[in-house]
Symmetry: none
Subunit: 191 residues, 4 copies
C-alpha cells in the first residue's frame, strides 16, 4: 500500500494536538497544573504516555501553548482593525468583547488566571505579556488624551486595574457576579 501523504500526516498531527490540549486544559482546570500528571492526560486522551512527547516536548511546553492561545484571543479584539489607533467605539467594543470572551469559557479563563500567576508558567510567557500590555496601555492612553481627560496616564492605569479586578472576581465566582450590571458600569464610566 502506498504510504500516507504529507498532508494526511499533517492532519493527524493537528487533530491529535488539539485533542491533547483540550483534554489537558480540562484537567488543569479541575485539578491544578502540578496535580495533573502526563499519565492522567494520556489516559483521558486515550493515547499512550509516550505519544504525548511526540506532540509536546514537555509538560511545560504544553501549558505554554495553551496560555499563548489565550493571550491571542484578547489581541484579536483590541484595536480590531490593527491600525494602531484605538477609537472611542473600539474601546467599548473591547469592553463588550472582553466580557463576552470571559463569559464564553469561564472555566478556561479561571484556569488561565490561576496559572498565569505561577512563577514557572509566568516566566515562560512574561515577555509576550509585557509586549501586549504595553501596547494596550499606549493606545488607550492616546485615546484618553484625545478625549481630553485630565490625567490620562493615571486614568489608563485605573481602567486596567478595574478590568483586571473584574475579570478576576468574575472568573473566581461567576455564579454570584453581577456581570451585566458591572459591564454597564464600565461603559458608563467612559462615555
Amino acid at each position: 500500500m502506498s504510504p500516507r501523504t504529507e498532508k494526511q500526516f499533517e492532519e493527524i498531527r493537528e487533530e491529535r494536538r488539539s485533542q491533547i490540549m483540550e483534554v489537558a486544559l480540562e484537567l488543569f482546570a479541575q485539578q491544578g497544573f502540578s496535580n495533573v500528571t502526563i499519565a492522567k492526560i494520556a489516559k483521558k486522551a486515550e493515547i499512550s504516555k509516550g505519544l504525548m512527547y511526540n506532540y509536546f516536548e514537555s509538560k511545560e511546553q504544553l501549558i505554554t501553548e495553551i496560555m499563548i492561545m489565550g493571550l491571542n484571543e484578547f489581541n484579536e479584539i483590541f484595536d480590531p482593525n490593527k491600525d494602531g489607533e484605538l477609537t472611542h467605539d473600539e474601546l467599548h467594543y473591547f469592553i463588550d468583547e472582553s466580557f463576552r470572551i470571559l463569559q464564553s469559557r469561564v472555566k478556561f479563563w479561571r484556569l488561565y488566571f490561576l496559572i498565569m500567576f505561577q512563577p514557572e508558567v509566568y516566566t515562560l510567557i512574561e515577555k509576550k505579556i509585557y509586549e501586549v500590555l504595553g501596547m494596550y496601555l499606549k493606545l488607550t492612553m492616546a485615546l484618553f488624551e484625545r478625549k481630553g481627560l485630565k490625567d490620562p496616564e493615571s486614568e489608563v492605569r485605573f481602567f486596567g486595574a478595574m478590568m483586571d479586578g473584574i475579570a478576576l472576581n468574575y472568573v473566581l465566582d461567576p455564579e454570584h457576579f453581577p456581570f451585566e450590571i458591572i459591564k454597564k458600569r464600565m461603559h458608563d464610566l467612559y462615555q
Copy 2:
C-alpha cells in the same frame, strides 16, 4: 544559670516559626509552591529538614498558615471595632488602611498575591477566603443599602473588584502605579 521559663521557650518557638514562614514565603513566590522542596526551605532557614516537622505538620500546613496570616491583616482593618456593622467612616478607613498596608510591605504583598493564585495553594485556603470575603460583602452591602444606593449588591461587587484589581496592579508594578491619585479616586467614588 536559671533554666528558661516555659514562656521563653514559647517565644523562641514563635520566633522560629516566623522565620521559617518568611523564608518559605519568599521561596514559594519566586519558584512556585511545588518547585520548592522542604529541603530548600530548611536550608535557607538554616535548620534541619527534620526540625521543620517540629514546627509545621506538613508542607501544606505551612503554606496555609502563611496565607491565613496575610488574610488576618486585612481582617483587622475591616470593621475595626468588630461590632458587625460597617459605617461610612469605617469604609474610608478600610480604603486608607488597605492602601497603607500594601504600601508598607509591597514586596511581601507581591509575593503573597503570586502565591495565592497558585492553584495548589488556592485550593487549600479557598474556603477561608470565601468566609472572609462573604463577610466583607455582607457588611459593605448593608452600608450601601443604608446609603440608599440603587443596586447595592452589584455595587459591592464592583467595589471589591476594583480594590482587587488595584492591589494587584500596584504590587506587580509599584514604581509606575499612580497610587495617591487612584486612592483619591476610590474615596471620591463613595463620598
Copy 3:
C-alpha cells in the same frame, strides 16, 4: 522505461546499507552507542525510522555489522594467500599493510576503536574477535617457532600487544605520532 533489474535493486540496497552504516559509525563514535537513537541515525541518513528496519533487523545488528566490516579489512592482509601459513615476508607485509590501512582512513579507525571499546558493543562481537585473534596468534606463533625464537607464545603476545598499542596511539593522535619511525622499529624487531 525498462523496469530495474533485480541486480540494480540489489545495488541500490547495498548502497543504502553502506550509507546507513557510515552515518551510524560516526554517531556511535561521537556520542556512544546507547546515546545514539535509531531516530538520530535515520535523520542523519535522511530516511525514515521505519525504513531502517528494512535494512537492519535491530540496532544491535547494525553495530555488529559495522564492527565485522572493520575486522574483515585486517583479515584480508593477514596471510593474504590464505594457505594457513604465515611466512616471514607475509608478517612484514601485514605490518606494512596494517599501517597503511590505518593511515588511509585514520578518522574511520579512530571511530572504530572508540566504538569497539564500548562494553555493550564489545560484548556483541567478542566471540568473533576471539576467533580472528586466535587464528592470528596461531599462525604467527608457528612462524616464530620456525624462526627458532625461544618462547614463541610470549613473543606473539608481545607482538600483538605492540600492534594494538601502536594502532591505538596513532589513531587517537595521528598528528604527533612518529609513524614511520615506529613502523621501522617494528620491522627491525622481527628481522
Copy 4:
C-alpha cells in the same frame, strides 16, 4: 536521645559511599555501564533507589568518581617522590608497579579500560587524562634524553604505546597473557 555527632554522620557517609562504589564497580564490570540501572545497584547494595542520590548526583557522577580513583592509582607510582624528575630506577619501578596494579585487580582494570573509551565517560575525565599523560611524556622524554637515546620523542611514544597495548591485552585476556615474560621484556628494552 542526643543527635548523632557530625563525625558520626561523616562516617556513615564514607561507609555508604564506598559500599555503593564497590557494588557499582562490580556490576559495571559484569554487565557494562549502560546495562546497569540505578535500581540494580541499589538492590545489590541493599539500599533504596532514592538513597543513591543522597550520595551521588547521578549515574554519571558515580562512574566519574570511580574513574578518577583509578587514574590516581597510577599517579602515585609515577615519579613517586614527586620531584619532577624521572630516574632510571623510577622508570623500572613504574613498569613493575604498573604491572602489579593491573594484576591486583584485573577485573577492575578491564572495566576501567572499557569504560574509558565511552565518549560520555571519556569526556568527563578527558581533561584530567591529558594532564596526567602530558606529564608522563615530558618526564619520560627527559630521562631518555639524559640516557642519550637518539630520538627520545619517538622513543617515548613507542614506550607509551607498548604499555597501553600490554595493559589492554592483559586485562582483556588475563588468563592467557604471558605476564611475567612480557614484564621482563619491557625491563630489558630499557636497561
